[in-house]
Assembly symmetry: C2
Homo-oligomer: 201 residues x 2
């Protein structure tokens, strides 16, 4: 599925070989991770009153804290804990939005090993009570970003659990996902794809 | 405003001086903080497919991490950062739910200094895009818990900003809030009060 603009005009993928363009295509900012790109997009959405969506803080298990006099408490020993939910959540059009964002250096498929079972279960739980979940995947080498509906993700996940293939082919993203094209503001306009999901509820 | 059960029967506050009761009133579990009580309530709601609501991890600014061979990465220096949002969020009846929970040892009023301006602004932002926000306050010495609508909180907050009083009197909680009575499961049935908020949207 190709993501088009609301006006109905076709969205086109900027190509590296594109010639005679008056405006250079936007490729995302050099060196920015998908997380940084999404944080910047969310900051735009927030400041324009469109949506309130944040990345959750990294869960940390704190073991030892020092409380020095006259200065801030200092954590001296702590460990990263496994995330029990997804990375991002928030509110858009009154709806609860919940998603994970992942990058892959793979160019032909997305390995399902990037997901943990509790993240999948969390999304299933959220959807049961009316939340809108999805995943945003960036194929770094292709510089392509897709939003994939949970329906498609769960289908491949459940199939893997039953001995099926361990990755989602790029073609599935191209045919069933929404391709997200970089633009000026917000950098990754993923809520346009969420509009489509809401329309089809 | 007194919170009653959906059947229309009056909810009564268990009193310390109450005599001749066949069942002892539930006071919450000894030594449990409001946070622990809410986490337990949320675990109940989650396991019963009612709602998916989690406490967000504490935001930490990590300064130094060791990566020892053959063992987990160890955080050696980190600091607590100021929360830029509220403590809890999630989804219930398809709605985005967002709230903060605070305890006070004060018995006659709740000091507004317990809130940071960015928490208030976060709730205002969420409501603008259709989220449902509120706050849960426990008067520890009274063993009373109230859910207060943002409308009432914002009114006192904005008044304070304009030189008004710096706390919310207990009577406001009693008259305009929903009192939450401990019960077996979930321990704090706060979503019953959220139902009232949704009904009055």
């Amino acid at each position: 599925m190709k993501f088009n603009y609301p006006t109905g005009s076709k969205a086109t993928t900027p190509k590296m070989s594109q010639a005679k363009v008056s405006m250079p295509p936007i490729y995302g900012k050099r060196g920015m991770s998908l997380e940084e790109e999404l944080n910047e997009s969310n900051a735009y959405y927030l400041s324009h009153g469109v949506a309130v969506i944040h990345k959750k803080p990294t869960p940390i298990q704190i073991v030892k804290v020092d409380y020095p006099k006259r200065s801030a408490a200092q954590i001296k020993e702590a460990y990263f804990s496994k995330a029990s939910t997804t990375d991002y959540n928030g509110v858009y059009r009154g709806k609860y939005i919940d998603f994970d964002a992942k990058e892959t250096t793979n160019s032909t498929s997305f390995p399902l090993s990037n997901f943990h079972e509790h993240q999948i279960n969390h999304m299933k739980d959220c959807e049961k009570v009316g939340g809108i979940c999805f995943t945003i995947i960036k194929f770094v080498k292709l510089n392509k970003i897709f939003l994939l509906k949970t329906k498609d993700l769960f289908q491949f996940w459940d199939s893997k659990e039953n001995g099926g293939r361990k990755s989602i082919p790029l073609s599935v993203f191209e045919e069933q996902g929404y391709q997200l094209e970089y633009q000026m503001n917000p950098l990754i306009p993923y809520l346009k794809a969420v509009d489509k999901i809401i329309e089809n509820l």
